[in-house]
């Protein structure tokens, strides 16, 4: 991967002690290619390269680094910063229940992630809400997951996501649940009717966190999808799923640049415990390959 190629370049550069503009250009080309191969969006890569140039100049002024180290450090640090710098955690309301709404494209892992969140925040007394009235056997799927996560699930109000959510709100008030997790139907960011349905759900029960659930293997279009969801619905965070595969995960950078919301977790298996904190530095390593 890029890290290995850098190691080779580094040895070569350290041999010379300084870097020629030709060498720098070839390194930059390698970085650009590597990021594209990692599924970082083309325009995001362009912006990244411009930002990198700035950072390299700043580091150059410090003069304490050898040129090879300089470039590698600059790339890595720039990536970590763009990915959020530190891990972030969900802040729950102390006084009343918190609401998480999981949204995203079809098949990305919303339903599974809803149950994973219920398990992770078991001590918050969570309640799962099936707001997918479209997908065949969606509520059965969530019920089975809820049972395994030992979490109650609101029964589905026939044919209406908003009605089910309304019921959840009532139940939370009556029974004192601390966390409401809404699993919504997969939808296209370009489907006006379904976007309207989502807005309706959020008017019925205002989420504290609107979480974009995105497939870790997503390609170039991840930027478009994230920005459309952000424009039309608003996003407060994101979770990147299926990161137990070997996708480099450039979509993480695409989502951050499109919506600039914290990446809270990554999905790392199909199991209920397959939800790990998102670490910007680990993600940067993975993207660089």
């Amino acid at each position: 991967g890029l890290i290995d190629r850098f190691a080779l370049i580094k040895r070569k550069i350290l041999g010379y002690g300084r870097i020629t503009s030709q060498e720098l250009e070839s390194i930059n080309k390698e970085i650009k290619i590597s990021l594209l191969q990692a599924d970082v969006n083309y325009l995001v890569v362009k912006n990244f390269m411009d930002g990198l140039e700035e950072k390299t100049k700043i580091l150059e002024l410090s003069r304490s680094l050898k040129p090879g180290d300089l470039v590698i450090r600059a790339v890595f640090e720039e990536l970590v910063e763009l990915l959020g710098s530190e891990t972030r955690s969900i802040d729950f309301r102390g006084d009343t229940y918190s609401v998480l709404s999981l949204i995203g494209l079809q098949g990305v892992g919303k339903t599974t992630t809803a149950a994973k969140l219920a398990q992770k925040f078991r001590d918050r007394n969570p309640l799962l809400v099936p707001a997918d009235t479209k997908r065949p056997a969606a509520v059965q799927q969530l019920q089975m997951l809820a049972d395994r996560a030992k979490t109650p699930m609101v029964p589905l109000e026939k044919g209406s996501a908003a009605a089910t959510v309304k019921k959840a709100r009532q139940l939370a008030k009556d029974k004192g649940y601390g966390l409401i997790i809404i699993d919504t139907a997969g939808r296209l960011h370009i489907d006006d009717e379904l976007i309207e349905e989502l807005q309706d759900i959020h008017r019925t029960l205002k989420p504290d966190y609107r979480l974009l659930i995105a497939d870790g293997m997503s390609g170039q279009d991840a930027v478009n999808q994230a920005s459309r969801f952000n424009e039309q619905i608003g996003l407060d965070g994101a979770i990147l799923t299926k990161m137990d595969g070997d996708a480099r995960g450039g979509a993480a950078l695409s989502i951050k640049s499109a919506a600039d919301v914290p990446l809270y977790f990554i999905g790392t298996s199909e199991r209920l415990d397959g939800l790990e904190t998102f670490h910007p530095d680990r993600m940067a390593q993975r993207i660089l390959g």
């Binding site: 594209l36 799927q141 497939d215 997503s218 279009d221 070997d246 996708a247």
Partner: protein
């Protein structure tokens, strides 16, 4: 070739195509589309004449296998008697999901329960289909990441069961590729093909805004044809793949 990169064609193939076009004369866009169409024109499986025609659908999690299996069963129902098989014995409510589709398509379904041995379910379904002389059998399998060697072994086992009934394995050994995914699709296709000799692709979720360009390297390197495009969540939302139409859409 910025437009190709943004279509998920990838750096390598964007360069390969660009280099080829340098020597092209005349209309650049037309030459580009012809080149893409030619990369996508791969031999279709020359199978599927003996009843029952066996279709198996595999692919990574959430790529659209179950919905595609239902769509294919529906297509075949118009010309014959179809047996749909719940080969996914892992996912919650997998059979319940496929069962609803079977009702919508008006076809018979072989049930399964979570935790059963998938190969055993497929074995029983095969016996049934060959005894009843169904025209078609469509087998849905559980989603799996190609990086899970144990799950790839399970898939191989399912194919071995099918081979007992039909020596060349499934007539249509289909891999679903989600059009929203990037370069990882190529690795998925490589590993699945190495494991079970995939002979055709279905590119799903093509009704979104992603271009699905990753199938260009896949089709050319693995000599695999795209058989259909998934263009929506309804049972009729499937169309035959046309390389020229696709070439046009990926360059727009």
């Amino acid at each position: 070739m910025e437009i190709l990169i943004q279509a998920d064609v990838g750096v390598k193939y964007a360069e390969v195509i660009r280099a080829k076009l340098e020597r092209a004369e005349g209309d650049r866009i037309m030459a580009l589309r012809e080149e893409i169409a030619s990369l996508l024109s791969q031999p279709r499986p020359s199978r599927g004449v003996e009843a029952p025609v066996i279709t198996m659908v595999s692919g990574v999690n959430g790529s659209g296998k179950t919905t595609t299996a239902a769509k294919l069963a529906n297509l075949h129902r118009k010309a014959g008697t179809v047996l749909l098989v719940s080969g996914d014995t892992y996912r919650d409510a997998a059979h319940e999901q496929l069962n609803i589709w079977a009702q919508r398509a008006g076809v018979e379904i072989v049930a399964s329960q979570r935790g059963q041995d998938a190969a055993a379910v497929v074995h029983d379904a095969m016996s049934k289909a060959f005894a009843k002389k169904n025209s078609h059998v469509v087998i849905d399998t559980a989603g799996r990441l190609h990086t899970r060697a144990d799950l790839m072994e399970e898939l191989k086992k399912i194919v071995r069961v099918i081979i007992k009934f039909r020596p060349d394995g499934p007539d249509y050994n289909i891999l679903t590729i989600d059009a929203n995914l990037g370069q990882n699709s190529i690795q998925q296709a490589k590993i699945f093909t190495e494991a079970i000799a995939v002979n055709g692709l279905v590119l799903t979720k093509f009704d979104g805004t992603a271009k699905g360009g990753a199938i260009i390297p896949i089709c050319n390197e693995l000599r695999l044809p795209v058989l259909y495009l998934g263009v929506g969540e309804g049972i009729e939302d499937i169309v035959e793949f046309d390389p020229e139409d696709f070439a046009r859409s990926v360059t727009t």
